[in-house]
């Protein structure tokens, strides 16, 4: 319901062309609502699902707000979502009257296997399965876009360079071209929009939340037969750790569980506002407890459960019932990232930053402090220099300035002393060499005084 939750966003959601659209496959109406929710119509466009939650500890993968999920529930569609992403391509007009063009594809030759989803018009056709590196539009741009105007008759003669658009989606996933739309933008350029759809099932690391701000990531996914069950055959969809309650004091969530349980057992949607005063619309906890008792449950909402692993009864009664859970749009698939080797920044020769640039993970000041305190000097050396920006320099022992290496003479030379001897080869971070040179450009002379190692 918040802006991070997935669900139905509007009745025209499947005809829209948003840059990014998150939808839930099976949204539900909350079992426990409020009058306001009904007045606003939030229950008409579901933003989550009523999950049966057991408040208990299980497997240790539920500590620190993580939740344990039932694999069979996921198989049946719990938390399944559709991610629609839009890719736009503009056919630009240039000042010399030239224009981008789309070419019919060449189905043979180099790179043809990444062009198989292209239609005869050079654009990806709808309903095709698209994989990473696939070309979704076979566009070409003129090589010269400025200078003398090229008369339209000579257009085919000017040179074009290829500017194919490749799809950079998640590897090994099943993405589909949902729709392709052509339109004119405000500069009267032809524009093509591709909507690419990806259906995802929840995985470890995906974020979920109840409506009480109790967010957590999926810690593990466990088979249904291993899940606890009651003698009625009820088995939870997810397990939440009870430590989430005391410090956060989300009493509303407990009321929701109670009200939801009463709601499913008597077949009525209850109101769950905080105060069940006579003037209000909310159902009181007492009223809900009464329904629970009438339906053969304990009045506090706790159930007697058996362990799915051993078949023995659990040591305690478990607080279990439906809670409306939302899937939030933060998913590991969009965030996971690892790098062994990769691109570096030109200026500093250090690894790039961020997932989009396939960057490295920074060993920051605090991490460095830990390693210093521990005394792991070789590790610091490796992280800060060898795995980052090692650089070999020639240092003059006489003047302390940096020299250069002469490949003909196969020796280092000091450019200020103009001498060959007295040169030492050493390794230092490229960033350090850069600092020395920047300081020199400001008329500060940093000199290196070398000692025998």
């Amino acid at each position: 319901m918040g802006k991070q939750a997935m669900g139905n966003i509007a009745y025209n959601q499947l005809r829209r062309m948003d840059t990014l659209l998150y939808l839930l496959v099976y949204p539900q109406r909350p079992l426990l609502t409020t009058k306001t929710i009904e007045l606003v119509g939030y229950d008409k466009l579901g933003a989550g699902q009523n999950a049966t939650v057991a408040v208990m500890s299980y497997s240790g993968y539920d500590i620190a707000d993580a939740i344990v999920m039932n694999k069979s529930s996921l198989d049946r569609g719990f938390g399944r979502c559709i991610v629609m992403k839009r890719y736009s391509v503009v056919l630009q007009k240039y000042e010399n009257d030239t224009q981008d063009r789309i070419l019919r594809l060449d189905r043979k030759g180099y790179g043809a296997k990444h062009m198989r989803i292209l239609d005869d018009d050079g654009m990806a056709s709808p309903w095709e399965i698209i994989s990473p590196q696939d070309i979704y539009i076979n566009k070409q741009s003129p090589a010269f876009t400025r200078g003398t105007r090229v008369p339209p008759s000579e257009l085919p003669n000017i040179r074009y360079k290829s500017s194919k658009q490749t799809f950079k989606g998640p590897e090994g996933e099943y993405c589909v071209v949902d729709r392709v739309a052509l339109y004119n933008d405000r500069h009267n350029n032809i524009s093509i929009k591709f909507l690419i759809r990806h259906t995802r099932r929840p995985e470890v690391g995906d974020k979920f939340s109840s409506r009480h701000g109790q967010k957590g990531v999926c810690g593990t996914i466990i088979q249904q037969e291993d899940f606890p069950f009651s003698e009625r055959g009820i088995c939870p969809d997810l397990i939440m750790n009870p430590h989430g309650f005391p410090s956060r004091m989300t009493v509303g969530k407990m009321i929701e569980l109670l009200g939801g349980k009463a709601g499913v057992s008597c077949g009525r949607f209850h109101y769950g506002s905080a105060f069940g005063e006579p003037s209000g619309h909310a159902d009181t906890v007492e009223a809900m407890s009464e329904i629970l008792v009438n339906k053969g449950f304990s009045y506090i909402g706790k159930d007697f459960l058996y362990s799915g692993i051993t078949g023995c009864p659990l040591q305690a009664y478990i607080f279990m019932g439906p809670i409306y859970y939302q899937k939030l749009k933060h998913m590991v698939l969009d965030k996971m990232h690892a790098r062994a080797d990769g691109p570096r920044v030109l200026l500093t020769r250090q690894p790039t930053e961020g997932r989009a640039r396939n960057g490295g993970l920074r060993v920051g000041e605090m991490e460095r402090d830990c390693l210093i305190a521990y005394g792991a000097s070789m590790l610091i050396f490796e992280r800060l220099m060898i795995s980052s920006d090692p650089f070999e320099v020639q240092v003059c022992r006489i003047c302390g300035l940096l020299g250069y290496y002469n490949h003909h003479l196969k020796t280092g030379i000091c450019s200020s002393c103009k001498k060959r001897d007295g040169m030492s080869t050493m390794k230092l971070p490229y960033a350090c060499k850069l600092l020395i040179q920047e300081l020199q450009s400001m008329n500060i002379v940093p000199r290196l005084k070398l000692a025998e190692a």
Partner: protein, 317 residues
């Protein structure tokens, strides 16, 4: 294994209730581990047939292809043949592409809405190549005569759905769509002993409030003798409410409730893929096969390959 104490027991089964889609039975003189193994096998390892591969020719409905494929997968198919079918992955007739008659069943669906009336595409529109594997039929409890299919998608005028689907054998462990069990659960049989002497000290009103304190109707008053009797011990959910009530009334020990540790009451509900009774029998069969796998390898050379240290351990190594 040599010598040692034998733990062999001879469990007894008593069927209480048996319908096509539900059985209730007692399992006695055995351990929780056996009862639970049976339950787990019923949920996760009894094979059925379910749609596993969908080729969509035309889909102009409002639901996207994956959506429909997922819904098709979850439709229960009659799977009496599943136990003797092959898994596609170890089928040698089709080299594992899973499209031969030994390991798969083909379905076709063609639906187009030509009127202004919304067309419901249901599991009844799925045409099977094999009459033994068809979508499960179920009827409205209020109108048992009419058979209704499981709805797949709704079409408006002009929309069309045309597809080919391959159903394969599988188990619930791989995907819940292959699980034949809707509900499999058991409970320990409760032993309820009322302390009659203490109960006689209660007034009629007190007896009533005490009976009321149980959320389920376990106890009742005998209309003739006005004595508290246990009417339905199995309704007791081990909620301790009556014990707490007795304590609160100052009559501790009014009732003693104990779970019989070797008696289980099973409730098995099937999705309709196989009969509930067959589900239990198949589960026992699979459990036996699993045990045989361990026992056979006991003295074979392959045991070490297959079971590693476990095999050696079984031979007393």
């Amino acid at each position: 294994m040599d010598g040692g104490m034998s733990y062999q027991r001879f469990p007894k089964v008593k069927i209480r209730e048996m319908k096509d889609d539900m059985v209730k039975f007692e399992l006695r003189e055995t351990d929780a581990s056996v009862a639970n193994a049976l339950r787990r096998v019923m949920i996760a390892e009894v094979p059925t047939v379910a749609i596993d591969l969908v080729e969509i020719e035309v889909n102009s409905s409002v639901l996207n292809d994956e959506f429909i494929a997922h819904r098709l997968g979850l439709i229960p198919l009659t799977s009496d043949r599943a136990m003797s079918m092959r898994f596609s992955r170890d089928c040698d007739a089709c080299d594992g592409d899973g499209q031969c008659e030994f390991c798969s069943v083909e379905f076709h669906l063609r639906a187009k809405c030509l009127t202004d009336q919304t067309l419901d595409v249901t599991s009844k529109d799925l045409y099977s190549s094999d009459h033994t594997v068809v979508p499960v039929e179920f009827s409205d409890p209020n109108d048992p005569g009419e058979q209704r299919g499981i709805i797949i998608v709704k079409l408006r005028r002009g929309q069309e759905l045309r597809l080919r689907a391959i159903a394969r054998k599988g188990i619930g462990k791989d995907h819940a769509k292959w699980s034949p069990a809707a509900t499999v659960t058991f409970m320990y049989e409760p032993m309820i002993r009322i302390n009659e002497d203490l109960m006689d000290t209660l007034s009629l009103e007190e007896k009533r409030t005490w009976i009321e304190s149980s959320p389920t109707k376990v106890f009742d008053l005998d209309p003739v003798t006005q004595q508290v009797v246990v009417v339905e011990p199995e309704l007791y959910t081990y909620d301790d409410e009556v014990i707490k009530k007795a304590d609160a009334m100052g009559k501790s020990g009014l009732v003693e409730i104990e779970a019989k540790e070797d008696s289980f009451i099973f409730t098995v509900e099937s999705t309709g893929a196989i009969k509930a009774s067959q589900l239990v029998l198949n589960a026992i069969e699979i459990l036996k096969q699993k045990l045989d796998a361990v026992r056979l390898s006991d003295d074979t050379v392959e045991a070490d390959d297959q079971f590693g240290e476990l095999g050696a351990h079984l031979r007393g190594g």
